[in-house]
């Protein structure tokens, strides 16, 4: 009778458990995946640190050979949107516990960088973030005081935290087949509706903000304010990409301050 092969996933070795081991701890570490962000491995250090609690279940436990080899692999170069990185962490650690071919795991990590980055950037940074900020600014302009901040934080983080939890769980559930999770109906639908919502709310917020800033001013002053906003936007468009919008607007403010000092 031969002894069972100690490699995980090999015949006789225990298969990966149905639930991700230490899910809460991994999730908590995912929130700090960019703590050691650097130009060498980008998010790699955070990726390894987040997935480490799962790797403790490899044969030999923490400090064992398979654990150390897997941890080194998971600490290599990685970059993605931080909220969706859990998808790759779940999938890669699942593959490690399943004893998949190391080359396949490395290919998986490399292949996920681009899609997770572009989907997350489009969904969160370019859509959901401006939408929630616009809601906060609208409510502030309409006089809802601190509720504006509460609404901004609750709206945004409901999607943010939900996405982190879903991504980690889906990555673990799918393992090497995690690519299909990127086509999940919820993610697709969210991508379709987030941009129009953001465009509409930001569009509605701008005139309301201008009105709130110039509340009580005579109509002529409001018209001058509208013209000034249009002129600043036009000037930024003219000077972009040589100067950022905030640089141009700050220069305008600085010029106004000089005019205010030299005022006869």
């Amino acid at each position: 009778m031969t002894a069972p092969d100690p490699r995980p996933g090999a015949p006789g070795a225990p298969a990966a458990p149905r639930r991700m081991p230490r899910f809460g701890r991994v999730l908590a570490r995912c929130f700090f995946i960019q703590a050691a962000w650097n130009y060498e491995t980008l998010m790699g250090t955070g990726f390894g640190a987040a997935g480490e609690p799962v790797l403790r279940d490899l044969p030999g436990g923490p400090g064992g050979g398979p654990y150390r080899v897997a941890l080194t692999r998971e600490t290599g170069f990685f970059n993605a949107h931080p909220y969706l990185a859990g998808l790759a962490i779940g999938a890669a650690t699942r593959a490690e516990l399943d004893g998949e071919d190391p080359a396949k795991i490395e290919r998986l990590r490399a292949a996920l960088c681009g899609p997770l980055g572009s989907v997350g950037d489009r969904l969160f940074w370019a859509s959901w973030l401006p939408a929630c900020v616009a809601v906060g600014l609208l409510l502030a302009a309409l006089g809802l005081r601190g509720w504006a901040v509460v609404a901004l934080l609750v709206l945004y983080n409901a999607a943010h935290v939900g996405c982190r939890v879903w991504a980690l769980a889906a990555g673990w559930a799918q393992g090497l087949h995690v690519g299909s999770a990127l086509g999940a109906p919820l993610l697709r639908r969210a991508g379709q509706v987030a941009a129009p919502i953001a465009a509409f709310t930001v569009g509605a917020m701008l005139p309301v903000q201008l009105g709130a800033q110039l509340a009580g001013a005579p109509p002529a002053a409001v018209l001058i304010g509208v013209a000034a906003a249009g002129a600043v936007a036009g000037l930024i468009k003219l000077l972009a990409p040589r100067a950022s919008g905030s640089a141009v607007a700050a220069s305008v403010l600085a010029l106004v301050w000089i005019a205010g000092r030299l005022w006869p």
Partner: protein, 227 residues
Amino acid sequence: MTGLETLGVVAVGTVCGVDLVSGPQALLSRPLVAAFLGGLVVGAPLPGLAVGALLELFALETLPVGAARYPDWGPPGAAAGALVGASRASASPAGWLAVLLVAIVVAWFGGWLMHQVRRANGADLHARHAAVAAGDPAALRALQRNGLLRDAARAFILATFALTAGDYVSVWFTRGWQAPQALARLAIAGATVGVGLWSASRLFGRGRTAWWFAGGLALGTLVAVIR
């Protein structure tokens, strides 16, 4: 501002700065939130919220994408919120103009400092290369902890600098201002809404979203006129 309040504002600014990249990225770093919290610390959350809204229009331009260098609005936002809440000098539109300019400069400086933090994280990784290559979890923990501490130090410097410089500059600006305050108010409105308009048109001014943006503008104009 009392010593305790100053400490509180710097602490809030530090937390908001760390939130931008290191974690948990829960939007505490947005100027609307940071300035509100800064104002809350000095007992004046509403002026904080108002100056945060102005800075937020500038920050709409910032997309915190990957390796790009972008301004950090959290620590200067917290300082600006506290300054307009607590200081008599920054209570006038000319004083607000000064606080805004300081916050913008500090936010850019924050982006440059973040670049330095990332380089230091890389140097730390090089120094621990052997341990990381051997799969030592203690080395990973040290890298994560040191990265967080570096980022916290960066945010602490920014918040302290914004608070100190903002206080002096707003007094200086207000004393030298001779034009009607309405000019400062108009300039702030034009500059903030102008940069917001440009950022929004860059994000949503093409394709299907352009129609949604135009619809929002129309509704917002109606609401502003009715109010």
